[in-house]
């Protein structure tokens, strides 16, 4: 921060603690008390832009030297409906399959050979449940994460949650891939009895239980290792990470990430300073050698993981260069992430549903919960009802 102020003597940076939490964020956004620069997940990007709730900094962004070097799957989340870039994506991830290497060993499975198909995943989950008594596979179901996970599974079977054609968006959750995804969960839960006894997980509590060794496998963001270490003090030895098994045409891994925005109703001088800060603090380390190395050193000094796999914000060549620069600072068990690092670039990254993302996820939470808590849940009916609700959400355009 001091270095930045030295470079820009007419800018003063004031820091304040900020963490994106859905509920407090809504209140801060509504109350106009957000910091000048704030970050949000991709899910909120286009809605915030299209509702005019962030400053339009597109003219400042267009002057940045790397404006046309962004990974297209990533930058689409920061574009307005007319194609203007109004925020800067600072990090990106693809959904990954995490597994507990210790439970794999205890169940007589090879921790270096995680499942690569859904039927292998089912067999492994069943073995873990039978031999260790812990949940073989668990999934999030609460606070919109149930929908997030279900859409991830559906993408893995080649589905999409909505189809946007010009201004008209159509809900497409009443489809075969969604049925397949729910059927897999249903079978794991009721036929294999491999999902333990907890079906009300949110992002936090599933991380907790995974770190505590109660979950054999679960799906979460590819960079989730950082928070498992920082918030859950996980034993690095037990973590394994691989790609999500894909099945069928058009299948891919759901990708998400974080965007930095500038608060609405800021003066143009503040906007100018804010973009400089975002570039300095978040972006330079992803394309500049000096910045990249000093960021890695700083992370090590504050006990943060270096080397966690990511989806490149820019092109892969730039990403590979940063990996090369920071190679000797890596403090995470890279070989345990190898199945993911090897497989991630072979998978298509599919952006999250563009419209009403969080609300759409929210409407799918009860569907996932129904399948996990009711053996006779009628999957086609559940999906067709959800499709109707989501369609009316999309039509309301709110």
């Amino acid at each position: 921060m001091k270095a930045f102020e030295k470079l820009n003597p007419n800018i003063t940076v004031k820091t304040q603690p900020y963490d994106w939490v859905a509920t407090t964020f809504t209140a801060q956004l509504a109350g106009g008390t957000l910091p000048d620069v704030f970050t949000v997940p991709f899910t909120d990007g286009t809605s915030l832009i299209n509702q005019g709730q962030v400053a339009d900094i597109s003219s400042l962004i267009s002057k940045l030297p790397y404006v046309d070097k962004f990974n297209p799957a990533v930058i689409s989340n920061a574009k307005s409906s007319s194609g203007k870039i109004e925020g800067l994506p600072i990090s990106a991830y693809g959904q990954a399959l995490y597994y507990n290497r210790q439970l794999f060993t205890q169940a007589g499975l090879n921790p270096d050979k995680p499942p690569t198909t859904w039927s292998e995943l089912q067999t492994d989950a069943k073995a873990i449940a039978e031999k260790t008594g812990q949940a073989g596979f668990s999934t999030m179901t609460q606070e919109n994460t149930g929908g997030w996970s279900l859409v991830t599974l559906a993408y893995a079977f080649g589905g999409r949650a909505e189809k946007v054609d010009g201004k008209k968006a159509t809900a497409t959750v009443d489809t075969k891939p969604f049925q397949k995804a729910l059927q897999v969960l249903h079978d794991l839960r009721w036929n294999d009895n491999a999902m333990g006894a907890d079906f009300l997980y949110n992002w936090n509590s599933i991380n907790q239980d995974f770190a505590a060794g109660k979950v054999g496998m679960y799906i979460s963001g590819g960079g989730n290792y950082t928070s498992l270490v920082q918030q859950n003090a996980i034993d690095p030895k037990i973590v394994g990470e691989t790609v999500i098994p894909l099945d069928g045409k058009n299948s891919g891994a759901l990708g998400g990430g974080t965007i930095a925005f500038v608060r609405a109703k800021t003066s143009s001088a503040v906007q100018d300073a804010a973009v400089k800060w975002i570039d300095y603090y978040y972006m330079q380390q992803q394309y500049d050698k000096t910045a990249s190395v000093s960021a890695a050193k700083l992370a090590i000094a504050s006990n943060q993981p270096v080397g966690v796999p990511q989806v490149p914000v820019f092109d892969k060549a730039t990403y590979d260069k940063t990996l090369e620069w920071t190679k000797k600072y890596v403090n995470v068990p890279l070989n345990q992430f190898a199945p993911y690092a090897k497989g991630e670039f072979k998978q298509q990254i599919i952006p999250e549903p563009a419209q009403q993302t969080q609300a759409l996820y929210g409407k799918l939470d009860p569907v996932v919960q129904a399948v996990l808590t009711n053996k006779n849940a009628d999957i086609p009916t559940l999906l067709s009802q959800a499709n109707t609700t989501i369609q009316s959400l999309l039509d309301s355009g709110n």
Binding site: A22, T23, F25, T26, A27, L29, A30, G31, G32, V40, T43, D44, S47, L48, Q51, G52, Q53, T141, Q142, E143, N144, G196, A197, D198, F199, L200, N202, A264, K265, Q356, Q358, A359, G362, D365, P366, V367, Q369, A370, L372, T373, N374, T389, S396, N398
Partner: protein
Amino acid sequence: MTTIVFLLPLLVVFGVFSWYPIVRSVIMSFQTTNLVSAPVFVGWQNFVAVFNDPLLGTAVLNTLWFALLALLFGYPIPLVVAVLMSEVRKARGLFSVLAYLPVVVPPVVAVLLWKFFYSGSASGVFNTVLGWVGIPPQPWIESTASAMPSLVLEATWSAAGGTIIIYLAALIGVPSELYDAAEVDGAGIWQKIWHVTMPSLRGILFVTFILQIIGTAQVFLQPYLFTDGGPSNATLTILLLIYNYAFGNSAGGSYGEATALSIMLAVALAILSFIYFRGTKRWSA
């Protein structure tokens, strides 16, 4: 003049923190707003949207179900406990402390603790206890059928202490001559309770009943923290639905719909209270 001066602080405090927000929310229920751009008046549109939401029916039924269960457990249990405690001569103080203890536990802490007790695995606290007597593990909050009763159980546990203390105070206020007279007339313990205790408690019972109804209609904490309305909306209550309207979508919620439903709830409760007081006027006098 002095009256007004003394009244002023109270008027200002009520005005700023109570009446102004109420007026604002009535206005907001007729608007569409994201609180950043200027609000737009939309007439009854928010109310129509709430009425057409299929979740409204679910939330109303769930809230009624919660209220009914809470009446079945939460209303009589404190009364029975208070009557029993008032019969105890020794160590009444100790029993009062024990009964009141759950109220002292911060509600959020209590729920998180009970969440742990309710764990659906065989190693969960309650399931371990059931295991001792040969009952298989129960899903507690992880099943649509048992989630709501589990929530009510915790709510009763945490709220009973306060009600018990109110009943106990009322019971101690019953003149002992009435009991003596009843005893002289040859009344046993049950007759004394039925003919002396209950009539003396009538006023209190009447108030706690309507407070209980209003309280359960606004239940939020338990469904929010235990289950977030799940599994599959089995514990979605009206207040949780209001919360979801406002805060369920992080990029700006439907504040208009949230306030519209709040006002509908307030009106419904006001009408209910009015009917209740009217209908029981003779009885309570």
